[in-house]
Amino acid sequence: MRNNYASIIIPVILSILVIVVLVYTGLASYDAQILTGLAQIYLGNVVYPGSPWTSISTEVVTSVIWDQRGFDTYFETSVLFLAIVSSMLVLEKTSIRGGTSAKEMTIIVRTVSMFIVLIIVVVSVSIALHGHLTPGGGFQGGSIFVIAPLVMLLVFGSSVLEEKGFTNRKLLGARSLAVSLIFLLGLVPVIYSLLGSVNAYLFQNLYKPGSLFSFPAVIQTPFGQVLLSGVLFWLNLFEFLAVSTGFTLALMYLTKVFEGDAV
């Protein structure tokens, strides 16, 4: 019984302390009126095309992630890459004895999940490609996309992705390619400034004070003007590729090991 009382009393005391701190510092007060200075700078400069720090994008969150703090996001992508590569290393040549073997589910589940997988893929690609215009981006689109291979692995058995051509090597190759492309896109301004006599910075997107280098923010196509927000569109695309293939690979490994096959 002593354990039961402790499981109620300790969390309650802990949360009362946290709430006191939150209310005292004003972090969680209901009638907060003013934004912090940092938020005002982001909201005022990122969207407005007349500002020197603009990203010519209507989405503040994506612009801050890739333009204002691109370094940080690049290394977060690398952390993700390292985590998946190291979990593959850990799982190499592992199999669980007595795991449930792969079986296809009934025709009802298979038919319904084909539709659902299709919808999930379309929605995730749309979220990734509109990342600089509407809420979303590469991270979010990729995380949504991972549900599709997970559903397929559970419904059609663990070998379905390999039968469709998504082998370990291809997925790992796409994953590495996406991370390298993100870094190369960050290097483009530096290479440009070495070739010409123009000032440019690592992971630069559009014109900045003191630099004339800029990726094209709007391009002309036969369908009309398309807003790309410089490099944001491409970085979202590559990040989508990196996150979706990386997690698909990890899920494939986990499912296989769990079902008793050596990887």
């Binding site: 499981s7 300790i10 969390p11 309650v12 802990l14 949360s15 946290v18 709430i19 939150l22 969680a28 209901y30 009638d31 907060a32 009126q33 934004l35 912090t36 938020a39 005002q40 982001y42 909201l43 005022g44 969207v47 407005y48 095309p49 007349g50 010519i56 209507t58 989405e59 503040v60 969150v61 801050v64 992630i65 703090r69 940080d72 996001t73 977060e76 993700l80 985590a83 190291s86 979990s87 593959m88 850990v90 799982l91 592992t94 199999s95 490609l129 215009l133 509407t134 809420p135 991270f139 995380s143 709007v218 009309g224 807003l227 996150v243 997690f247 990890a250 899920l251 986990l254 090991v257």
Partner: protein, 137 residues
Amino acid sequence: MSLETYIWYYMVAVIVLTISYSLYGIVTRSHIVKKMIFITILSDAVYVLLVFMGYRINASMPPVYPGGTLLNPNLPGSPGDIESFISRSVDPVPQVLIVTAIVIGLAQLIFLSSISLKIAKAAGTLNIKRLEVEENE
């Protein structure tokens, strides 16, 4: 205090209680999978609390300038548009923090689960107390 204020502080209390209960669970549960479940609950509750911190009483929209499409982008034309956008939008900084934190949390979860699969294969159990007993013997 109005009804909205009561509901607000009730929500904050529920989130903070979830955070503290999951912290308690991480410390006291002895099964590794249960610890992983509590870690997931903890991180999700922290994300929700951070979104709560970005809210303002007069905000009515996310930090996205409205009405843009890929072929017809609607960018603000004058400083007045930007003034009204700033006055109506919520704080973008916590959201920026959360977006990458969610993906890193997923990667951490996958790494934890592969390590625990390896432990289950090697020791036959995921209960930390039993693992310690086997070490001592």
